[in-house]
Every structure is written in structure tokens, then in C-alpha cells.
């Protein structure tokens, strides 16, 4: 209910603003809706959203899996941390644009280049977060697992993983927002489809309703994924905390 109200407030503000600055600069909601409907009817909207989502999913999964593994290793093994740290700092501070452009130059304007470039941008933040998580592991529980001779797999699943869960959730949350942003840049620069490409086209044609139509549909998809997937997952992970007296 409160969410609906805040959404209505957003639309109202937009409408008033569009009256004030003029339709050419900021089209009113109905004009954008019309553009959205026509894109939806032709199927282009769903195709482009789908393509972008697939890229996000692939790059996100790749970066999270690799980043978590590297971060865990760096948090647990001092040598790995020493070796990995300079690379990590380099990657953390490398601008997204540089990575994307270099990836396109070296690997061509291909799908693989786009996804790898997006993943490389997200990777170091996942590594840093998971490294912190691995460093914060409770040695007392490790000792318990050793004393009771828990097999490695069991110990990892029941003792280690739940301790890392909040860090994984944090990495996923910040990583997802990073990937949402970067995927559009990668598409703008070197892909023939996707939301980023369409926004680029709309920009060149100065077609503001189309630009807003794609931006808002994209924002809506992000919101739905956050509410339906990310937030319930986070609640599930911390259910033992909520019940604690």
C-alpha cells in the first residue's frame, strides 16, 4: 500500500515537471506509455530486455562464483592474499570503461567480450567482501568442527557457509546494482541489441519517449527482481536472527 502511494507520488511529480519544462524535454507519462506499448507490441521491448537480463545473469553468476572462491581463498590463506592483493587493488580502481573498451579491442565485438568485461568489473568487489567474510570466520566453531571430525563438505555447508551468507548477500546486492549499470554501457559500446543499445539509438535520434520507455522498463525489471528474489532470499538467510530472543 505504502509502495503504491510512493509510486503514485513519483508519477505525479513527473507529470507536473513535464508541464513545467515542456513536453519536448520531458514527455508526460502517457507519451512514454505509448512508446512503451508500441515497443511491446512489436516484441522489441521484451527481446531487448531479455537479452540484457541474460547478459546480467551470466556476468553476475560468473563474477559471483569466481569472486567468492578467490575471496574465500584470500581470506583463509595468507600467501594467496599476498599474491592476490596487488591485482585486486588494480582491478578495484580500473574504470569500467577501460575494461569494456579493452575487452572489445582484444576479443572483438562479441558476446563473450561483453560478458567477461562486465564480470571483471564486478569481480573485485565480490572478492573484497568475501575476503572480509572469510577473515571474520569464528575459529571456535572451526575447532568444534575439527574436534567432532566433521567431514569437510559437511563442515563447509553447515559451519562455514552460514557464516559467509551475509557477506555473500552483501556482495550480491552491491554487485547486482553494479552489473545493472555496467551492462548498459557495454551494450551501448559494442552490442547490436539490448536495453543499452536501444537507449543509444534513442539518444542519437533524440527520441526522449523511447529513451524513457526503455529506461523505465529496465528500472521496473530491476525492482521486481529485487523485491521477488533478492529480498526474500536475504530474509530467509537471517531467519535465525529474527527469532532470537
Amino acid at each position: 500500500m505504502l509502495r503504491l502511494l510512493s509510486f503514485a507520488l513519483f508519477v505525479a511529480t513527473w507529470w507536473i515537471a513535464s508541464f513545467l519544462v515542456g513536453e519536448t524535454k520531458l514527455p508526460a507519462p502517457p507519451a512514454v506509455m505509448t512508446a512503451m506499448m508500441s515497443e511491446a507490441r512489436s516484441g522489441a521491448l521484451f527481446l531487448n530486455l531479455g537479452v540484457t537480463l541474460a547478459r546480467v545473469a551470466l556476468a553476475f553468476t560468473l563474477a559471483m562464483a569466481l569472486g567468492s572462491a578467490i575471496g574465500y581463498l584470500m581470506g583463509r590463506v595468507r600467501l594467496a592474499n599476498r599474491l592476490g592483493d596487488p591485482w585486486l587493488i588494480l582491478l578495484l580502481n580500473l574504470p569500467a570503461l577501460v575494461v569494456i573498451v579493452l575487452a572489445y579491442i582484444w576479443a572483438g565485438l562479441t558476446e563473450v567480450a561483453a560478458i567477461v568485461a562486465i564480470a571483471i568489473n564486478k569481480l573485485p568487489t565480490a572478492v573484497v567482501t568475501l575476503r572480509e567474510g572469510a577473515r571474520a570466520l569464528d575459529p571456535a566453531l572451526d575447532e568444534m568442527a575439527t574436534a567432532f571430525a566433521l567431514p569437510r563438505g559437511r563442515a563447509f555447508r553447515h559451519v562455514i557457509l552460514p557464516q559467509l551468507a551475509p557477506y555473500i548477500a552483501a556482495a550480491a546486492r552491491s554487485g547486482l546494482s553494479l552489473v545493472w549499470k555496467i551492462v548498459l554501457v557495454a551494450e551501448l559500446l559494442g552490442r547490436p541489441n539490448g536495453v543499452g543499445f536501444e537507449i543509444g539509438v534513442a539518444f542519437q535520434l533524440f527520441d526522449i519517449p523511447l529513451l524513457l520507455a526503455y529506461s523505465l522498463s529496465f528500472a521496473a525489471v530491476v525492482l521486481v527482481i529485487e523485491i521477488l528474489l533478492v529480498q526474500p532470499f536475504e530474509t530467509r538467510l537471517s531467519r535465525w536472527r529474527l527469532r532470537a530472543a
Binding site: 571456535a140 566453531l141 574436534a147 567432532f148 559437511r154 552460514p162 535465525w240 527469532r243 532470537a244
Partner: protein
């Protein structure tokens, strides 16, 4: 089955790089069915000793021969339960093949039946200790280590828990090692008492109590306690 302990020395290096001797000459054997009690002042290295015996610390001079294949059950000073698993899941984690009947009996003896589905964060310290005890017994240990299981509980609760421990220890032929700094607990639960010196800890005196635990009368317990408290351990 027996445990042979011969630790010549154990030292730590602190942050400043200075060496501290923690243990200095601990030699004893413990047989199956026997309860050994390590008794000594705070900070004398009792917990360090337990860590070595539990196989968690290998950095010491000497030898500890645990019977090969012996299952270890341990109750740490802090309960060390997984906060994200329920009481029952915590116990089943270390003993995945435990039969339901045995688990129920264990929970009944320790008065935990009502708390099976609670999370450790919802339990008092006394209850959490009992869950840790249930976990240690669930693995059907051959070697049981109890690190101050009765500390910081009120007298009535400590007494009840002590009786429960005695019941459980009697139910299985195993080597048990109990650490305490309470003489009463030591005399009531132990068969052999190892008195440790202040740091660096070494064994000052070994007291063997011949009467079986269940048959010790109150006057006998008082007599042993009296005699032990008169030992001038500080100057041995």
C-alpha cells in the same frame, strides 16, 4: 583402550615475541571407564591442555597417544553451538546416523525435549550447555572431554546438571576428562584427580578415589575434600 599423555612443555609466543611457558610436565594415563579430573587455578593452562588432548593443537613438546579410531566428544567452556541451526539440528550435525529413540532419550535425560526446535540464541546458558552435552554424547564417544561444564551456573542448576553428567558418564564405557576449578565437582565426579600448579602448569598431586561414584556417601565426600584442601599444594 587408554590415553597416554606425556607433554613435556608447551609455550606460546605473544604479540611482542616473548615466549610464555604454559605447560611444563604433564604425564598421566587414563583408562576406559575412568573419569580423570584436571583441577587447578584459573589460567594454569587447563584449556590449553584440553586443546592438545583433543587434537586441536599440535605445537608442543612431548607425546599424546590417543587410541586409534577413538571417537571424541567434547563440551567446550562456551557451548559453541551453531546459532543458525536448531537444537536438534546442532546435535544431528555431528551424529547424522543417531536413531530417533536414542536422541529422544538423550534429550529427556538432559531435559531438552521441549527445546528441540529452538535456536541457540533463544536458550539460557544452562540450556545451551546441556545442548552441548547432548551433542558430545550423541556421537557415542570413546573419549569425552568436558571443559568446566558447570561454570557460571547457579548451585541448584549446577547440581542437577552434575547428576545428569554422572548418569550419562555411567551409561557408557569411555575415557572421560573433566576440567574444573570446583573441588566439590571434582570429588563427586572424578575417579582420579590431577592437581595442576599455577602457570606453567605441571601435575603436583594425583588423588585416586577408589569408591565408585554412585556409592560415595556424603561423609566420605566431605572427608576427601577436607583432606585435599589441607594439602599445601602451593608449596609442592
Amino acid at each position: 583402550m587408554q590415553l597416554d599423555v606425556d607433554i613435556r612443555s608447551k609455550s606460546f609466543e605473544n604479540v611482542a615475541g616473548k615466549r610464555h611457558d604454559v605447560l611444563d610436565g604433564i604425564t598421566f594415563t587414563l583408562n576406559a571407564g575412568e573419569v580423570g579430573v584436571v583441577f587447578g587455578p584459573s589460567g594454569c593452562g587447563k584449556s590449553t591442555l584440553l586443546k592438545i588432548l583433543a587434537g586441536l593443537d599440535h605445537d608442543y613438546q612431548g607425546q599424546v597417544a590417543r587410541p586409534p579410531g577413538a571417537r571424541l566428544g567434547i563440551v567446550f567452556q562456551e557451548p559453541r553451538l551453531l546459532p543458525w541451526r536448531s537444537v536438534e539440528e546442532n546435535v544431528r550435525l555431528v551424529a547424522p546416523h543417531i536413531e530417533d529413540i536414542r536422541l529422544s532419550t538423550l534429550f529427556e535425560v538432559l531435559e531438552l525435549s521441549a527445546h528441540r526446535n529452538h535456536f541457540p540464541g533463544e536458550l539460557s546458558l544452562g540450556l545451551a550447555r546441556r545442548v552441548a552435552l547432548a551433542r558430545a554424547f550423541a556421537v557415542e564417544p570413546d573419549f569425552l572431554i568436558l571443559d568446566e561444564p558447570l561454570a557460571s551456573l547457579d548451585n541448584a542448576l549446577a547440581g542437577r546438571l552434575r547428576d545428569q553428567i554422572a548418569t550419562l558418564v555411567a551409561s557408557r564405557q569411555m575415557m572421560t576428562l573433566l576440567v574444573t576449578h570446583d573441588l566439590d565437582d571434582a570429588v563427586r565426579l572424578g575417579d582420579r584427580l590431577f592437581f595442576l600448579s599455577a602457570r606453567p602448569g605441571r601435575i603436583l598431586h594425583v588423588e585416586t578415589i577408589a569408591t565408585p561414584r554412585a556409592k560415595r556417601s556424603e561423609p566420605e565426600i566431605d572427608e576427601i575434600k577436607m583432606r585435599l584442601s589441607q594439602l599445601d599444594l602451593a608449596n609442592m
